[in-house]
Structure formats: C-alpha cells, structure tokens
Symmetry: C2
C-alpha cells in the first residue's frame, strides 16, 4: 500500500499522550493532500522494520514543515524513530475484528477465534480509544456467558508471553478489589515463599481504587521488571511482587484496564479474564481468590459473590488452573492505611510483629496464606493457618520479604506526605458504618495512587465507641491543591463515616 510519494521526515515534538499513538502532519503537506487525510483519521505509519496505527492531528502552524511528520512520544518509541528518519504513511486497511465488536454490541455470542482476533488487534494498537471503550462496554453488565469468558481469557493468555517455572506447584492469590487498604498480597507472598512454595506474584496497578498492590510495593521496591528479571528473583527467593504490565503477560489486559479506569467500571467478564489470564500466563497452577463482600465493597451481596466464585472456578478449570475462592468480610477497610505509602507502612508493621500492627490485616493474610498452603497439597487440611502464623511470628516472613525486595533491586523505607488534615468526630457514639466507596474516593482525590504518599489513615473500626472530637481519620496529600480538593469532597459528603 505504501507509495514512494508518501514519505515524510520525522521531527521530534516531545508530546506525551500516554499510550495513545498520535501523528502530526501539516494540513498542506503533499501526503495529506494526495491521500485526502483529515484530522482524527486513523492511518498507518511505517519504517523499514515495523509499523503502527495512529490518529492524525493536523497542524496549520510552523511547528512542522510541510515535508515533516511528528509523533507522540509513545508512537515514536514504538517505531524507534530518530530525528530525520524517513517514515512512510498509508491508509489504514479495514480492521476486520471490529465486526465482532459490533456483533457483541448487538448481543451476539462470540467464539474463541473472534476474541482472539479482537485481542490480537488490541495488542497491535489498531483499536482507537472509541473502539476499546465500545468493546469494554459491550462485554460489561453480564453480556458475556461462561464460554465467552473462558474464550476471552484464553485469547488474552495467548496474546502475550507465558512463563514456565518447571515446577509442579506454582501458587498465586488475588483479591477482587473494592476493599480499601486490603493489602494482603505482599504478606501472603512473604509467608508462602518463606515456607518454600514458589509464588511469582504479578499484580496490577489501581483500576478504580486508590492503590493497587503494584502501586503499594513500588513504594518499597522496584516493581517494573522484565520477564527475565522476574525469573531470576523467583529462582533465588521463591517469590516476587512485581507489576504485571512490563512483563508482557496478557498485554491486552493493561490496555483494557486503562479504559475501565476512565469509565470507572470493572465488569465480571473482564475481571475474570483479567485475573485468570495474568495468573495462567505467569505460569501458576494453584490460585486462591479472595472476594470481600459488603454493602459498599465491589461485590455487594453473597449471591453475587457466589456467582463470581462459580464462574471463577469454572473458567479456571477451562484454562487449566486449580482455583479456590474464599468469600470474606467486606464491610469495612482492612488495616489502617489507604494509599500506596500508608498501606506499605501497615505491611511492615505486620511483618515486624509490632504492637500497633493492624490485626485485621494480619488475620486476613494468614487466612489466605493458610488456604494456599493447603490448596498446594503441601500442608494438611486444617493446618494451613497455624503454619502461616508460625512463619509470620518467627520473623521468617519479614526476612523473606526483605530478601525479595533486595532481589528486586532495592528496599526503601516509606515516607509520609507533608500535607495532612485530621477529620474529627462531630459527636460521641458508636461507629456504625464506613462507606468504602466514599473513603476510597477521598483517598483518590487526595492524590492516591499517583501521589504515592497521599491517602487516608484510619483511626477507627466498626462498632467502636467514639468520643466527640476524636480523630476518625487523617487525610495525607503531596500538594495543597490535592488536600483542598479532598476536603471539598469531604465537606459535601457527610456520610463517609456514620456514628449513631
């Protein structure tokens, strides 16, 4: 399709658009004129080695000369373009897999081959954000049946690298989010790796929450490791806590998660496919999944949890994973901190067995670690939690935690944010209700997870006796603007914590 006349010289513009590929061309450049390109046309840009699809922004100023072409930073990186490089521009061939997206919009059932084509094109970068958003939405709201979720999961596994650990048992865990502060993963990894199991944990960054495990662990260590580096860490220490994104495991998931974040949704089908594709691609064989249930958690009723549990276990089976789902209490946050740094502080307190360590977080971690020890077949049924507790109390889990951090490149002590504001009780009484969603929103408005040390430090739990003027929680922020922004939201929403 490239014609010799469709050649332009690359100029560095330094425009950062995150993942979005944008190409800049002059309105009066010969390619725009001869090809009839106009703003937002999706076009293909190639060099001798590779090609990408990008959306056109048309320039009518002298930032570019008519024979020059500019690229957003991510597009330039994908093409490995240097100033004065020659780039070829051509029409985008029709994206056939979009017909499957349309079929899904119109409630038709898709098969593996359809999902595979869609996911392949998404990983290639051929979908615009409009297409991605339509795909996410068309699959949300119970519009994928169990076969479709399995097929989507398989397609997502196939779209990236797959790790192989050469071990009979490779364990993993996952928590279906929605519960602020519930940062058990690093504790579980430390405990089961200290026991001797292999747990190559890849985590995601926050989707709609104030912190994902990867955001939290990044406070303490490096989480952006290559597949090779992960392999080295796990061979040495038996476990790791890394971000799944750069490891190229289920790369479609990282693209889709950004769109889900913008929409603030996390639908069942995508959720299962996201979790299980990452687990399977990471080479896991046995996975424990924690579903906290509560009125303001992500999963609100036991029926929904039960349905999700069944679907998780069925899809797990279909993709060759041994999945055990644990339904837990999701009526209030777990631990004290909400936000990457504040959660990292909780984790260290538990590992060091400090007197003011949050008990609820420790107990939740022991439940899941015990479940994994039993699921692996290495520890007798009924003895898992006890075994996990011995490892934690002995300090072996803390030692393993530090060793893994060091193997990942560093261990850094967490530092709190400079701007704080105490929220005090307006009356005395019993703490009746904590709105998980609103407390999470407040932590996000204070800057978390982008501002790592921003967030909320909770001083109270459900059922406690509260005295007037007692500090209920403290807001932490890295800038005054963010602190004010969180406070403004707080002032509009008085029912974040209910005292009766």
């Amino acid at each position: 399709m490239e014609q010799p006349s469709n050649i332009l010289k690359y100029k560095h513009l330094g425009i950062y658009t995150q993942n979005e590929n944008v190409v800049y061309m002059r309105e009066d450049c010969h390619v725009c004129i001869s090809e009839g390109f106009e703003a937002l046309t999706r076009i293909r840009i190639s060099n001798a080695n590779t090609s990408i699809v990008a959306s056109l922004n048309v320039l009518n100023s002298d930032i570019l000369m008519p024979n020059e072409i500019g690229l957003s930073d991510s597009a330039a990186k994908k093409l490995n373009a240097s100033p004065h490089d020659t780039l070829y521009v051509s029409h985008l061939e029709p994206i056939d897999s979009l017909s499957y997206v349309r079929a899904k919009i119109y409630n038709q059932k898709l098969n593996y081959s359809a999902f595979n084509e869609i996911i392949t094109d998404i990983v290639e970068g051929d979908y615009s954000t409009i297409h991605l958003s339509a795909f996410i939405t068309a699959c949300a709201g119970d519009r994928l049946d169990i076969d479709e979720i399995s097929d989507l999961t398989k397609a997502m596994i196939a779209s990236g690298k797959q790790l192989n650990w050469d071990k009979e048992v490779v364990v993993d865990k996952h928590c279906i989010g929605g519960l602020p502060g519930n940062r058990t993963t690093p504790l579980v990894v430390a405990i089961v790796a200290a026991y001797g199991l292999t747990m190559p944990k890849t985590s995601s960054r926050a989707i709609t929450s104030p912190a994902g495990t990867a955001d939290t662990m990044e406070v303490l260590t490096n989480v952006t490791l290559s597949a090779e580096e992960i392999q080295t860490v796990v061979e040495k220490e038996g476990g790791c806590f890394v971000w799944g994104g750069t490891a190229q495991l289920s790369p479609a998931d990282d693209v889709l998660i950004k769109i889900e974040k913008a929409l603030d949704i996390d639908s069942e089908g995508q959720l299962i496919a996201s979790v299980l594709s990452k687990k399977s691609a990471a080479g896991s064989t046995h996975v424990v999944i924690d579903i906290p249930v509560g009125e303001t958690a992500k999963v609100r009723s036991t029926e929904m949890a039960q349905k999700l549990k069944n679907h998780m276990e069925t899809v797990g089976n279909a993709v060759g994973l041994n999945v055990k789902v644990v339904i837990t209490d999701g009526t209030q946050p777990v631990g004290r901190g909400i936000g990457p740094t504040l959660e990292a502080i909780d984790i260290l307190k538990v590992l060091k067995n400090e007197v003011d360590a949050p008990n609820d977080l420790a107990e939740r971690a022991l439940l899941l670690a015990g479940g994994l020890l039993e699921l692996s077949g290495k520890v007798e049924k009924g003895k898992g939690m006890e075994t996990a507790q011995q490892i934690l109390e002995s300090g072996k889990a803390y030692g393993k935690f530090l060793a893994i951090c060091k193997a990942q490149g560093r261990f850094t002590e967490p530092i709190l944010a400079p701007y704080t504001f105490d929220i005090k009780a307006e009356k005395s009484g019993i703490l009746e209700r904590i709105d998980n969603r609103k407390i999470a929103k407040l932590a996000k408005l204070s800057g978390a997870p982008k501002s790592k040390s921003a967030g909320i430090l909770l001083n109270t739990h459900l059922g406690e006796n509260i005295k007037e003027n007692q500090v209920l929680y403290t807001i932490y922020a890295e800038s005054k603007g963010e602190l004010n922004y969180a406070l403004e939201y707080k002032n509009y929403h008085n029912n974040i914590i209910t005292i009766i």
Copy 2:
C-alpha cells in the same frame, strides 16, 4: 476552584483535532507540578467568560515555555482565546452523570432526568470520547426500552434550540438509511414546497453511508446556515435543505453521530432519538418516515421494520409529532449515483424530467411527497401521489428547487471526479443480487463523502440481462490513492454484484 497560581499564557499552536478539546502544557510547568497533572488527565480551562474541559497532552520540548499553555483549535475557538491571553487551569470536578452511564452499562433503566443530565454534560463537552463511546454502546443492541427512547429524545430536543414556525402544519420526512443512492429528500422538499406546504428540512451528514443528504446538497448549495438564516429561507420559499448541525438543533446528536460513525453502528434507540429530536426541534408537526427493507439494507426484515415503525410512531406520539412510517423496497440502490456529487446529478435529472433520469428515484420521491401531502390533510387520501407527479412534471418542483438553493446562497452545477475505473461483467447472465453494504463500502473507500465527487455510478439494476464485458458500474475518485484503495477492496470481494 481556581487558584491564582494556576495561571498560564496562551500560545497558538495550530493543532487541529476536530471536535476534541486538547490542552498542551509543559511537563515542568508550575501548574502540572503543583496540581499533579499527568498526560490525558481531563482538566478544566477557564478565562473570565467561560470554561471548557480538555484532555492534557504533556510537552517536553520547547514548542511551549513553562509558563505557556497551548490548545487544540476547537478548544481555542470555544474559549475564544487569543495569543498571550491569561487562562486558568483547575481540576475537573467529578461528572455526576457518568453514574447514569454506568447504571445503563449494568442494564438499569434510566429516566428522563438521567438522560437530561447525560445529554447536558455531553453538549457541554464534559465527556471524553471514551465516555461517549460507552454511552453509545450501552444504549445499543435493544438496551433502551420505548420509555427510555422517548426520554432520550425529549432530553435531546431540550438540549438545543427549538424552532417555531407559527404554522399549523409543518411537514418533514426522513429515510432510515442503508440504501445507497436513495436521495429522495431534496425532491420531496421541492415538490411539497412548490405545492405550498412548509418543509424546513434539516438533514445530517453521512453516519456510516457514503453520503448523507447534507453532504449531497452541499455539492449544489450552502447547507451550513444559522437558525436565523434558515428562518429567512423558509419564510421566503416554504422549504430548505440544510445541515442540522450548526443550527444548534439537538446538538448532542451531532456529537453522538461522530462516535457512531467511528464504531460503524447506528442503534435503534439512538436512531429514533436522533431522527425525532431533530424533527421536533425543527418545529415539525407531520413527518413521513421511509424504511427501506432488504437483505443488505440497514433494516433487513419486515419484522424489524414493523418493530421500528411501531417504536417510531409511539415515540413520535410521546414527543407530540404526527408520524407516518412507509416501509419500502430496499433490495437494491435507488438511482444511479452513490456519493454526494453523483447523487446530486441524479436529483437534477429527475427535476429536469430528463429522458435518462432514474425512474426508481423519481417514483420513490413521488410516493413520499404524496404521503406527506395526504398526511398534512391538505390533499385528499389517494390523491397525494398524482398531485406530486403533476408538480414534478410541470417543472414547478425544479423551479422551487433552484429558488431554495439561491435563497441558501448559491446554486453550483456538480462536477465529476477526475479518476475513474469501469468495472465490467465477467460473464453474461441475469443480475441477481447487489450487495448494498459492499457497494456502499466501495463508495466510501473511493473517498465519499469526504471527497464529494467520489463514489459509484451504477449502470445496472436487479433482473437485467447482462452481457460479458458490459460496464456494471464506474468507480470515481479524487486521488489515485483512493481509487487504488477502492480497487484493492473490489479485488478481494467478488460478490458485490452477482450474475447468474
């Protein structure tokens, strides 16, 4: 929310992104640093008079100084920004109506107030393309019931200007697309306006087709008129053919249509709301709607057409319109031309009663014009078509057509595209089938509707006796690249026209 420190100086960058608001700021500018803004954050930009929401692109080159801010052309226009103007930057307050979009994604029913908030925010420009695409998708595939379609329609009417003609009867027509070349509207307007009825016709540009009526009429006259200009034309001539977009009638529709175009979908609920909101806002009282039915038309079966007819009439009733739906033959294109200029040529031939005028187009126009004359109550039932025919054959319709074009600012004779290619029959036989979708796709790949004179000229109709090497149709293009692109598609798809 604006803090005095959040001030930047506007610099013109001349980046055209169509309707999309993009703001450019330096990575190291004090506002990005103090507010924690990062790429693609949605932020609010204000001056003393107004404010907009835009997506941030972060710059790390000297296109901007750290104290400067750039805007995409559409954003600059909305703010009426001049170089060196002072602009204020602030966090975007949460968009409350997105919770209704999420509710719709999860299959909940929305009421008028929810649709009204969504549509108001869309018209304000507060939704990103990701949000718009999710809204469109969540409403597609039969996910709106009849009450929701009525409420969406009312919300869209309320979102823009509403014309009032001070007449008891104001007629209009609409064709549910999907049938290439079926350009009856300009003919119907000319006939009924010549009869003396008021028909202030606003049309849309192509959504997924190679030409909309507005695209076609733009070849012959100006279609971008203000509400005041439309009023003047209609008072003088009794009719008009204008693009509905700039008239600010149902402005949400114009935003949503761009997203539907990118997705290549046109769902029932949005379709009804789009059509009827435009009609009602334009001040119509009596509307005839043409639904062509055929295997490769937009509406594929009589049941679907019947369902759409019922919904159209019910929603029409709910918003105070007298709607009559006519179900017509949609098995093949109507007329010879497909693409703005080629269709304009067909229209002129019919109006001038030329010997080679396409009969099928003339007949379809007379059917609809006759239906309108009867629906209006001015012409006796059963006499509509006959009356319409007299007006057309007498030349009165042609005279009225030219008069309206001149009132709209110009009448221009159409000019054909320079690059052509004849597609010939590979064998002799009977023409059995024309794939409307593929022939439309071919016209689009040749450049229509963007390249006005591009498209397809059909030489044949269903059932005709074809001889080997006879020209079946000619492809017209404005550039060699587009012609080649269409030919490449043609070479992959041999079943565009089937001869047996």
